[in-house]
């Protein structure tokens, strides 16, 4: 992380009590500044535009605009903004969808304040925080997609992803596979890119199918 600058964060959740708690946790660390709060998806899109946070910390179960759609819009409007999903349970489909539209990672709400701050700082620094449980979900998703036309994972990428799912750090993976940490990070980044691509293919296939149906 560069210098002493605090990470500018926007907190999105429809429960005010929860927002207060998260704000308190983040600000108590001295490394984060909460520059905006939003209570629903539509609000989040708008405030992200005005407050220009570096990172958006959000739940997926939101009124008005659903979380995934809000993430898609926020990332579309300002691609440099990082999104960290803070979800009450690993709702597989939603979390995967969120990552596909551009979220950089997700954390369970039962995470401790220290874990939360750590994740915020790391995501801002550009580290894809592929938590072990997210890695597991992604591995399952690619397995389900295998055989379709989507870009599949290479054997190496699958290996890396499985090790992340087993809780190995990038450093530990690098040591185990005789790679540099940077190479491991690249693998992880490629996996993410392929996952996001798969969504685009999905949309394209859908559009083509619709088009064919029409004609």
């Amino acid at each position: 992380m560069s210098g002493d600058e605090k990470v500018r964060v926007m907190v999105v959740d429809d429960h005010p009590v929860w927002r207060d708690g998260v704000r308190a946790d983040l600000e108590a660390s001295g490394r984060v500044e909460v520059v905006a709060e939003a209570a629903d998806g539509g609000d989040a899109i708008e405030r992200a535009r005005e407050a220009m946070p570096e990172l958006v910390l959000m739940d997926l179960n939101l009124p008005t605009v659903p979380g995934v759609e809000a993430i898609r819009r926020i990332v579309e409007e300002s691609p440099h903004v990082k999104v960290l999903v803070l979800s009450a349970s690993a709702e597989e489909a939603d979390v995967l969808e969120a990552v596909k539209v551009g979220a950089s990672g997700y954390l369970l709400k039962s995470a401790t304040a220290a874990e939360l701050v750590d994740a915020v700082v790391r995501v801002r620094a550009g580290e894809p925080t592929f938590s072990p449980s997210l890695a597991a979900l992604v591995l399952g998703e690619f397995r389900r997609m295998s055989g379709t036309t989507e870009p599949g994972l290479t054997a190496r990428e699958t290996e890396v992803l499985r090790l992340v799912a087993k809780g190995y750090t990038y450093k530990e993976i690098a040591d185990q596979l005789f790679l540099s940490t940077k190479t491991v990070q690249n693998h992880v980044q490629n996996i993410l890119t392929k996952l996001q691509l798969s969504r685009r293919y999905e949309l394209m296939r859908y559009a083509i199918r619709r088009g064919l149906d029409r004609s």
């Binding site: 690993a90 995470a111 591995l139 399952g140 397995r143 499985r162 799912a165 809780g167 530990e172």
Partner: protein, 407 residues
């Protein structure tokens, strides 16, 4: 509900088309009768002929306007009129001419046979046909024909006429039954679709129930859980009291989680399937001495017994981590690959050299019995990968038979 009526309305529509056809046939026959009556030259009893045609026209008109349901009185009346018509034909046509010249009754009596067939099936059609055949005989007698001394041709004519009635009635009866049956099949198929859809709706309802719990209770519990833990770590409140609170909240949270993630197909019965991922998440949430993450490639619905045994094995492995590893974190990970569930418990602690025989000799049975034994009972295997200084990975592999899963 609108859909439920579709099968029967299909039959209704078929029947409506049939009865419209019969009505049209009646009118055409009636018209033909009039033409024949006008062109046939002299009739023996013109008044009776006119009255008969008028009566039939009135009856047909009423059938057309009122469209009555084919009740017994309606059917009986129709048949009686047809029989009467055959008799009248014998009475009004010049004596002895019934067999040779166009029949005064034209095709009209056939409508009665057909109506009976449509309303009462093959049996009804044939019965009406036979009655009409008998009335043909009566008509011949009324026409002054001596059947006993007739030529065989006349008798053959008579038999042919009867056969026509019977065939018409029977055939339409058959068609009506087929129509009914296929409508019945359609209805049955539709009902099945509806049942499937209702089931899907119930599942969706459950899911939304789960989501509601997730939105309210789980959020609150997660908050209490988290705050409680932090307070216990150094708040002014007596720590053990707060810890108890957190424990309780965590327990609630787990219970609700497993409720949400429970197999929708098994409604609360302990037998059946359970989600391995939900179970692992529960375990991870319950561990208080170090951070544990839990992940899986999917919900992993397995026979409940498998999940129970695996959870017990993982608990032992976690105990070992807490007791021996000096780790900073543990990850539980489960995946399913080609019918085998692979579950790993991985810590970043000090590691050790795994030697089963040596451990057993020392009376240490956690790994060898509690973990390996359990997994082997499920037809699986255990592997320990560990080096001093490099953490420990305990891998459990259990085959899952599809027929077991689908119980």
């Amino acid at each position: 509900m609108r859909k439920a009526a579709r099968g029967s309305s299909e039959a209704e529509r078929g029947r409506a088309v049939l009865s419209l056809g019969i009505l049209a046939f009646r009118w055409v026959s009636l018209g033909w009768m009039v033409i024949l009556a006008l062109t046939a030259g002299e009739l023996r009893r013109p008044a009776l002929a006119v009255a008969t045609i008028a009566g039939l026209a009135a009856w047909t008109g009423w059938l057309t306007v009122a469209r009555p349901r084919p009740t017994w009185p309606v059917l009986a009346c129709d048949l009686a009129l047809a029989v009467g018509l055959n008799l009248v034909a014998g009475l009004v046509m010049p004596a002895g001419t019934v067999g040779e010249r166009p029949f005064f009754a034209a095709g009209y009596p056939v409508a009665a046979a057909v109506t009976w067939g449509a309303a009462r099936g093959v049996g009804g059609g044939v019965a009406a046909g036979l009655v009409l055949g008998a009335s043909l005989v009566a008509g011949q007698l009324a026409n002054g024909i001596d059947l006993a001394s007739s030529e065989p041709a006349v008798l053959l004519d008579l038999a042919g006429g009867t056969l026509n009635f019977v065939l018409a009635g029977g055939a339409v009866g058959l068609v009506a039954r087929l129509l009914e049956r296929s409508a019945g099949q359609l209805r049955q198929a539709t009902e099945e679709t509806i049942r499937a859809r209702e089931r899907a709706a119930r599942l969706a309802e459950r899911e939304s129930l789960g989501r509601q719990i997730h939105d309210s209770v789980l959020q609150a519990l997660a908050l209490v859980h988290k705050r409680g833990r932090e307070l216990a770590a150094g708040g002014p409140v007596p720590p053990d009291q707060v810890a108890g609170l957190a424990e309780m909240a965590a327990g609630q949270e787990r219970a609700l989680r497993s409720l949400i993630l429970r197999d929708p197909a098994d409604d609360g019965t302990p037998a059946g399937a359970a989600s391995l991922r939900a179970a692992l998440e529960g375990l991870a949430g319950a561990e208080r001495s170090l951070p544990v993450t839990a992940g899986a490639t999917g919900a992993l619905w397995l026979p409940a017994r498998h999940v129970e045994e695996l959870v017990a094995a993982v608990r032992q492995a976690l105990d070992n981590v807490v007791e021996h590893a000096g780790a900073t974190r543990v990850a539980l990970f489960a995946e399913e690959d080609a019918g085998v569930v692979v579950l790993t418990v991985r810590d970043d602690g000090r590691g050790f050299r795994y030697d089963e025989r040596q451990l057993l000799a020392q009376g240490k049975i956690g790994l060898a019995k509690s973990i390996k034994g359990r997994v082997e009972q499920l037809g699986g295997t255990m592997a320990v990968t560990s080096r001093p200084g490099a953490g420990t990975e305990v891998e459990l592999r259990v085959p899952i038979r599809e027929d077991e899963r689908d119980r």
